[in-house]
């Protein structure tokens, strides 16, 4: 185990709190030894990957240590013909995609800041970019995991084959658990052949209704786009549809959908292809997910059929409460990302009101990023506890009886 006192890590803050110790591990055994040695009830032990989503979670009471996992960055096993990749949790998404790219394969997921974001962090936060529409999330690709419990026990679940019903699916249950049950040390992932062609249509709509109408049309076809987003600002709405797959198929879909966009009355239609298409989506995702002290991010989810009604209610509510808010709507997966500029002198009350407005008509509204000063004491995961909270608490007690792993930062202050 390495105790970091380097310049790069001295600035690490968890919601404004400096960990008493900043640690870094380079092997699963080190991680196990470290956890076996932490103090029960001595404050949270916060696992840290690339640090791109540290703002997600409730403000912890104390932080006894941060544990950087970026030293766990090895490929453990990769047999391209098995379409199975086994890697340590600290490997970055860029490193993973480069490894796979050499063999014409890729991991079906787009994330913000892939050069920093680690696979363990992406699983813990359940992050998924716009490709989620067709590719799903890592929940779908995760077939096995090795994880370390807070007592230092090294455990595994699942395996290295896609079809596996041997025992409970604890690996998938770790997806989105924010490191509160165990720290993921390595994962086995299903990978896919990379698409041969990648193209994006970007167009301007007169208003949100026009954009939503077009998207509805696109979503009702059997050949949905790979990703479909609407960016709504006070200046109007921009629709982007991405198509990936075989050469002939993508060309066909682009022609067909370009015509559909024109017929729907959208203007300024641009076609981006190849690297340009990929770059467009990456920039949009990075901009959206960047953690900034002057922007509050709230992530709302619902069912796709509820999006239109939801936005019709939300937009008027934001006029007074949060002017100049940017909404990124993924109508196919029914996710609405709200990026609201912080108001001068904004209070916790303001954030609570904003979240309440965003939550109205949604199934969930999670404050993904906000300054600690305004989110303090709020349960960022939702005003109301989710169904099954008692089971979740019991699971936490079973997996982390010493209550150290990211304690206090999860749903219901678990």
């Amino acid at each position: 185990m390495i105790r970091q006192r380097t310049a790069t890590l001295t600035e690490l803050l968890i919601d404004g709190i400096q960990p008493r110790h900043q640690l870094r591990v380079e092997s699963v055994e080190q991680l196990a030894d470290l956890l076996a040695g932490v103090i029960a009830g001595g404050g949270a032990v916060v696992p840290v990957g690339g640090g791109t989503a540290l703002g997600l979670g409730n403000v912890p009471k104390e932080v006894q240590a941060s544990v950087s996992l970026t030293g766990l960055d090895r490929v453990l096993d990769y047999e391209p013909s098995d379409m199975m990749l086994s890697v340590e949790a600290g490997m970055t998404m860029t490193a993973i995609q480069e490894t796979l790219g050499e063999h014409g394969q890729y991991l079906a997921l787009d994330v913000a800041f892939p050069e920093k974001a680690t696979i363990g962090g992406v699983i813990a936060t359940a992050f998924a970019g716009p490709r989620r529409l067709t590719d799903g999330t890592l929940r779908d690709q995760l077939v096995g995991a090795t994880f370390v419990r807070s007592d230092g026990a090294i455990c595994k679940a699942g395996g290295k084959v896609v079809k596996n019903v041997s025992g409970f699916d604890l690996a998938r249950a770790l997806h989105g658990s924010l490191g509160t049950l165990a720290i993921i040390a390595s994962v086995n992932l299903k990978v896919l052949p990379a698409s041969k062609e990648d193209a994006t249509l970007v167009a301007h709509a007169e208003d949100t209704d026009q954009a939503l109408g077009l998207c509805r049309q696109l979503l009702l076809t059997a050949t949905r786009p790979t990703a479909l987003d609407i960016s709504i600002t006070d200046d109007g709405a921009e629709v982007a549809a991405r198509f990936t797959g075989g050469l002939a198929g993508v060309e066909h879909l682009c022609d067909e959908n370009r015509a559909g966009m024109e017929a729907a009355g959208l203007v300024g239609i641009q076609t981006l292809s190849g690297a340009e298409s990929a770059q467009w989506w990456q920039s949009a995702l990075d901009e959206r997910a960047a953690e900034r002290p002057d922007i509050v991010q709230i992530h709302a989810t619902m069912r796709p059929s509820a999006v239109e009604g939801y936005l019709a209610r939300l937009r008027p509510a934001l006029v007074e409460l949060a002017p100049n808010t940017r909404l990124t709507v993924s109508p196919g997966v029914a996710a609405v990302h709200v990026a609201a500029p912080m108001r001068a002198g904004a209070s916790q009350f303001w954030l609570a009101s904003l979240r309440q407005a965003v939550a109205a008509g949604a199934e969930s509204a999670v404050i993904a990023c906000a300054p600690a000063s305004v989110k303090h004491d709020l349960d960022v995961w939702g005003e109301m506890p989710p169904d099954g909270l008692e089971i979740m608490r019991a699971l936490k007690r079973e997996m982390d009886p010493r209550e150290v792993l990211n304690t206090g930062r999860y749903v219901g202050f678990i």
Partner: protein, 490 residues
């Protein structure tokens, strides 16, 4: 509470039409689809067939106050003893909860009760352009609730994923009788992914009373190809080559010669009787892509020695080619009175070596083994053919099974790809999982079911959930040393 009082109380909850307690009526509930001998039969005290979530919750609360085990059951097609009430108690059969409540084309979801039959859901949604992707062989009979419990697969999982990839949310009756909705982290919902925990938990955590399932659009075009090879090795190499070329077929199945001998005379699917193995390859998608990919697949098959290739795009012809695969198990009666079906999974690149090992095990044990399986994802289905009445057959089958499982696990495979552990394979869990691994799983069990009353005697090696760790440690050591050849040591 004595039995008469219990029966009366159950009757008050589910009504006389929803209650079975006569010993004769209970006989069919002593079994599931697993092979007799590999799984012990057991009789419940009573079987209830509720029609509502409230009735399920009522029965569960009653069982809690009486301290009785509860076993949820769908169509009883399971192959690992998962629906057998090993400790007696109450079986809750969910087959009368069979309504499709809602279909939403924009959301691509359906809200269903657990007793809806898998194929009926696909048939119902096909008119709207959708199907439910998991398609286990038993799809004409098995239920969505059972699919959730077992995390069922099927031939089309290669492209579309298994049940867990198609379940978005579940209404669940917990062991204390309370009712919750679980959500999925894949939908960005906050909280632990209890849906992921539930799917594949073999009825040990909760009882599914409603499921919000993902529907998959019927692809614009589907082509099914049959490629016959003189030898199995060539077919297995073609499987690897197809995947290596970056093609993900909708399904990629292998049928060996022994299976062809059983199935072709009965169903006339058009598989050459002298073929060493036949591959069934299904490609779907946009017509332009399907045509190009089909051409590449034919080329790859020919490069690997394929001497007969046929492609079908019309529904009738496709169905005929599939018939040979789907009816394979039913046709086995032509070869032997009994079979024992395995479900191990191996990495695809180890397919050829594994098939060689299967042949060796067959020779050594003098038990014919037919192979008809999901080659694309390495999910083997070796069928050990035997005659229960012949002295020594059962023992030799069990012995061969042990060798097979040991081999597959040893090369990085899984005990079961889609049939579940149940009671059948619980004794093998320590071959794959350590004490710490199983302790973590037991923690999940206790979080849901601290009294351990839901589907006892399943998945975990005997005594493990309640902490007989010492016995387990010894057993693990014994198994690793291969000191025991008894297939069901417990």
């Amino acid at each position: 509470m004595d039995k008469a009082m219990l029966i009366e109380a159950l009757g008050r909850i589910v009504g006389p039409a929803g209650l079975r307690h006569d010993p004769v009526d209970l006989l069919v509930y002593e079994y599931d689809g697993s092979v007799d001998g590999a799984v012990d039969t057991a009789s419940p005290l009573a079987v209830v067939l509720p029609e509502t979530t409230e009735q399920v919750a009522g029965v569960v609360r009653l069982a809690k106050s009486a301290g009785l085990p509860v076993v949820a059951r769908g169509a009883g097609t399971g192959l690992s003893g998962g629906a057998v009430a090993q400790q007696g108690g109450i079986i809750i059969a969910l087959t009368r909860m069979d309504k499709i409540i809602e279909l939403n084309p924009l959301d691509r979801t359906a809200l269903v009760q657990p007793g809806v039959i898998n194929l009926e859901l696909s048939d119902f949604t096909r008119g709207s352009g959708f199907f439910f992707a998991p398609d286990p062989s038993s799809q004409k009979a098995c239920t969505i609730g059972g699919n959730c419990a077992e995390n069922s697969g099927g031939p089309h999982c290669l492209k579309y994923g298994v049940t867990t990839n198609h379940i978005l949310a579940l209404e669940v009756v917990l062991p204390d009788g309370s009712v919750i909705w679980t959500h999925s982290s894949g939908d960005g919902m906050p909280g632990y992914d209890l849906t992921a925990a539930m799917v594949g938990s073999e009825g040990m955590l909760g009882i599914v009373t409603k499921a919000l399932v993902r529907l998959t659009p019927v692809p614009p075009m589907t082509a099914v190809m049959m490629a016959a090879f003189p030898e199995m090795d060539g077919a297995a190499a073609a499987v690897t080559a197809i995947i290596a070329r970056g093609i993900v077929p909708a399904a990629l199945e292998m049928v060996d010669n022994l299976t062809i001998q059983a199935v072709e005379p009965a169903y006339h699917a058009g598989y050459p009787m002298d073929a060493g193995a036949v591959l069934l390859i299904e490609i779907d998608g946009l017509p332009v892509d399907v045509e190009e990919t089909s051409h590449t697949v034919e080329q790859i098959c020919r490069e690997h020695g394929c001497n007969e290739f046929r492609a079908a795009t019309a529904t009738k012809e496709r169905e005929l080619l599939w018939k040979g695969r789907k009816m394979a198990l039913a046709a086995m009666g032509r070869l032997a009175p009994n079979y024992y079906l395995h479900d191990t999974v191996v990495p695809r690149t180890k397919l050829t070596a594994t098939l060689d090992r299967v042949a060796e095990i067959s020779r050594d044990a003098n038990i014919p083994i037919a192979n008809v399986f999901h080659a694309g994802d390495g999910n083997l289905h070796p069928l050990m053919l035997f005659d229960r009445r012949r002295k020594g057959d059962v023992e030799r089958v069990l012995d061969a099974s042990h060798h097979l499982i040991e081999y597959c696990v040893g090369i990085g495979g899984a005990l079961s790809g889609e049939h579940g552990i149940g009671t059948e394979k619980r004794g093998y869990m320590t071959l794959v999982f350590t004490e710490d691994d199983l302790a973590a799983m037991a923690g999940l069990k206790r979080a849901f079911d601290p009294e351990l009353r839901f589907n006892p005697e399943k998945v975990f090696p005997k005594g493990y959930v309640c902490g007989e760790v010492r016995a387990l440690r010894n057993q693990a050591r014994a198994q690793q040393l291969m000191a025991t050849h008894d297939i069901y040591p417990m």
